[in-house]
């Protein structure tokens, strides 16, 4: 790659300028006697450049504006104009628009499920702690990232579990059956993410291992879990597993689901990471070995940092899929955000067309906020680590 670039530069001393000019980045050098290029500024010019650069783009702009004109008033009337902000079912049916009063009345339930009202500060604290322990890693300026990372991967999950479940330090036990709503979505998604990455790394390394037994085990595991849908894994965990256990000896349902989600996504993650491992040139392995590093030191300090950097888009892709897959826990009777909204719209005190639509729109917005936030963060991360290879 570098060699070819060098030779290209040698053939055309000003090759880069030519490339830039072709791409339209630089205006052509002004010829003698011409006016200097027009300066681009002001709103009129912005509209000209972005909305009406030529007749085709201009036509598209007009069509899009017309479509917006057609759809916006209806959307506005539904979401705001005819919406009900305070009231009950009868008000919502009478007004015909969105029934935000329903969301309002059930806000706490949508966020926390059946978590006791007096104990909800524990959920807030758990997620505040998460933000505090993860936030420093997002900003390059803050030192000591290694410690924050170790804390959020090793210590935080333990603290989070005891905060949410209770049973220690005088915190009353809140059974997992009472967890629900947005909180449960986050719990399933985050434990899926935290669990699947290390599992995926180990499986990916195992699949490329020279030790036959380990390689066979990892390959079998990956292919088995990759070949079935997540819904099957959850179904097995919730319906079949209890039948194999002695009567009355039940494994917590949420825990079964969490393990299922982590194993399934670990297998997917392993293949993403293996892609990164295979992209690392042999020279890197040989150089690390030559420098006297053992297997684990080579992997941890040389290979994995480069491999993981390459596959960030793939990892985030898997993470977004995990968030969206959380809704599948509905089939095993857990109430994630979508589940609790569905249970809510089935309340005969609210049951109506308006409440049904509002509920689904609300759940959709909740998931969109989560996934969009995550994908913006991954774009920021790629820019920062400069792994896009788009220069």
């Amino acid at each position: 790659m570098t060699d070819r670039m060098l030779s290209a530069t040698a053939d055309h001393p000003d090759a880069n300028a030519v490339i830039r000019e072709r791409a339209g980045i630089l205006p052509p050098a002004p010829a003698q006697g011409r006016l200097p290029p027009r300066t681009h500024s002001g709103p009129v010019d912005w509209i000209h450049r972005n909305l009406f650069p030529d007749w085709r783009q201009g036509l598209l702009t007009i069509v899009v504006l017309y479509l917006l004109y057609l759809s916006m008033p209806g959307l506005y009337n539904w979401a705001i104009g005819n919406a009900t902000w305070v009231g009950d079912r009868a008000d919502c049916v009478a007004n015909g628009g969105a029934c935000w009063a329903f969301v309002n009345a059930r806000w706490g339930q949508f966020m926390y499920g059946f978590y006791p009202v007096a104990e909800r500060w524990r959920v807030d604290l758990t997620f505040a702690l998460l933000i505090v322990s993860v936030a420093p890693m997002l900003f390059p300026a803050i030192p000591g990232k290694r410690w924050f990372l170790a804390f959020s991967l090793l210590v935080y999950p333990v603290i989070a579990f005891f905060l949410l479940y209770g049973g220690v330090l005088g915190l009353p036990v809140v059974e997992t059956a009472r967890w629900g709503g947005f909180m449960l979505t986050l719990v399933v998604a985050i434990s899926g993410m935290v669990g699947s990455l290390p599992l995926g790394i180990l499986l990916a390394l195992g699949r490329r291992s020279k030790m036959t037994v380990i390689r066979l085990f990892c390959t079998t595991f990956i292919e088995l879990f990759r070949a079935v849908p997540l819904i099957t894994v959850l179904f097995m965990a919730s319906v079949m597993l209890p039948l194999f256990m002695p009567q009355g000896f039940t494994l917590d349902k949420l825990l079964r689901a969490l393990i299922g989600v982590a194993l399934f996504n670990g297998a997917l993650m392993a293949e993403v990471i293996r892609g990164g491992l295979q992209a690392i040139p042999r020279g890197q392995y040989e150089a690390a070995t030559a420098a006297g590093m053992g297997y684990w030191r080579m992997m941890i300090f040389v290979i994995l940092p480069q491999a993981l950097r390459i596959v960030i888009p793939g990892i985030v892709n898997t993470y977004v899929a995990i968030i969206k897959d959380t809704t599948l826990v509905l089939i095993i009777g857990l109430f994630d955000l979508l589940g609790i909204v569905q249970a809510g719209i089935a309340d005969s005190n609210w049951l109506s067309a308006s409440v049904t639509k509002t509920g689904y729109v609300f759940a959709g917005m909740g998931f969109w906020v989560l996934c969009f936030g995550l994908s913006r963060y991954s774009m920021y991360l790629e820019r920062r680590l400069n792994t896009g290879h788009n220069t």
Partner: protein, 337 residues
């Protein structure tokens, strides 16, 4: 400290721990009845705004809890999906399944379940637009019917129309919500589904007031609470709690008048309310006023119906078959003596 960490973790992982021989003992030790319910079926079980489970099926469990533990709130509700409901009962995750479950031979025998008395005689019914001016399903000759393809609903429909010598044109869809949307958009004259579901679906129509339900049911869907095989005592308790609620309605005992009824009622009533001389509760290892507690907690069967399904609720379900046998229905309590 370390010990409590360990205990909390173990408690979460192992759930209830090892079971006793008897469900009643387990329930007493736990201080709560574990009750499997739906994930939200209007009128039967769903969480209210405050997060408490409410509904017809929910109150059956509350009645059992009141009879056994003298506390109608000592119930832990476990929402179960259609697929996992029987496993949850078989594996001991729940004590009662009170979840709009139809009693069939297969479930009663091969699945190892015991069905308590039927609390809701459901069945496939019809909904039409009021403007159609139809009062009975027998007037539907030549109608177009929206139905989901390949379902039992479709089979029942075909049987009913051919048995009555009527013709109809089916408009088939793959998914249930497509069927409903098509009917709401006016693609067919008739929508058909189980009665309990019809009432709820009418409310999510664009204009619920335009639609009426016809009185006929064309299939049998008897819904009953379920317990697992192998614990006759617990089966008896659930069975007779349901009969006590129905019996109370037969005898005119309500949650309001039960005090005076216990003092001045007939021998039957006094026996029902545990004010008689016999010792019925002890036969089930319960207190003698077990049924009085159940009735006080949720009311009699009629009160239960009116609170969750009846004409004063948005569902506006007619009692129909679920009237007492004395009022033209088939609800009938076995003699409580």
């Amino acid at each position: 400290m370390t010990k409590s960490f360990f205990l909390a973790t173990t408690a979460m992982v192992l759930g209830a721990g090892l079971a006793h021989a008897s469900t009643l003992e387990d329930v007493r030790e736990r201080g709560a009845v574990v009750c499997g319910v739906t994930q939200g079926v209007p009128g039967f079980s769903n969480p209210d705004d405050a997060g408490n489970w409410t509904g017809f099926d929910v109150d059956i469990c509350r009645a059992v809890a009141a009879a056994v533990l003298d506390d109608a709130d000592a119930v832990r509700f476990v929402p179960l999906s259609n697929t996992e409901r029987f496993t949850a009962l078989q594996s001991g995750e729940v004590d009662i399944l009170s979840r709009t479950t139809t009693r069939t031979l297969n479930r009663d025998t091969a699945l190892g379940l015991n069905f308590a008395p039927v609390v809701f005689y459901d069945g496939q019914g019809f909904m039409v637009r009021e403007s159609l001016g139809v009062a009975s399903a027998l007037d539907l000759d030549g109608a177009s019917v929206c139905v989901s393809a390949g379902s039992t609903t479709e089979l029942n429909l075909a049987d009913y129309f051919s048995a009555n010598g009527m013709s109809y044109s089916p408009v088939r869809f793959d998914r249930a919500d497509e069927v409903l949307a098509a009917y709401d958009a006016g693609r067919c004259d008739v929508y058909t589904s189980d009665l309990s579901g019809l009432a709820a679906r009418r409310l999510v129509m664009e204009n619920p007031a335009e639609h009426v339900m016809l009185p006929e049911t064309i299939s049998k869907e008897p819904l009953a609470p379920v317990v697992r095989h192998g614990d006759d005592q617990w089966f008896d308790i659930v069975t007779w709690t349901v009969y006590a609620l129905i019996g109370a309605e037969e005898m005119g005992v309500t949650s309001e008048n039960m005090q005076e009824m216990a003092e001045g009622g007939s021998p039957d009533i006094r026996r029902l309310l545990g004010a008689g001389d016999d010792n019925m509760g002890a036969w089930m290892d319960l207190e003698n006023d077990w049924s009085a507690k159940a009735i006080a907690a949720v009311g009699n069967y009629g009160e239960l119906w009116e609170r969750h399904l009846g004409m004063n609720t948005p569902l506006e379900l007619e009692r129909g078959l679920n009237e007492l046998y004395t009022n033209g229905g088939i609800q009938y309590a076995m003699p409580i003596k």
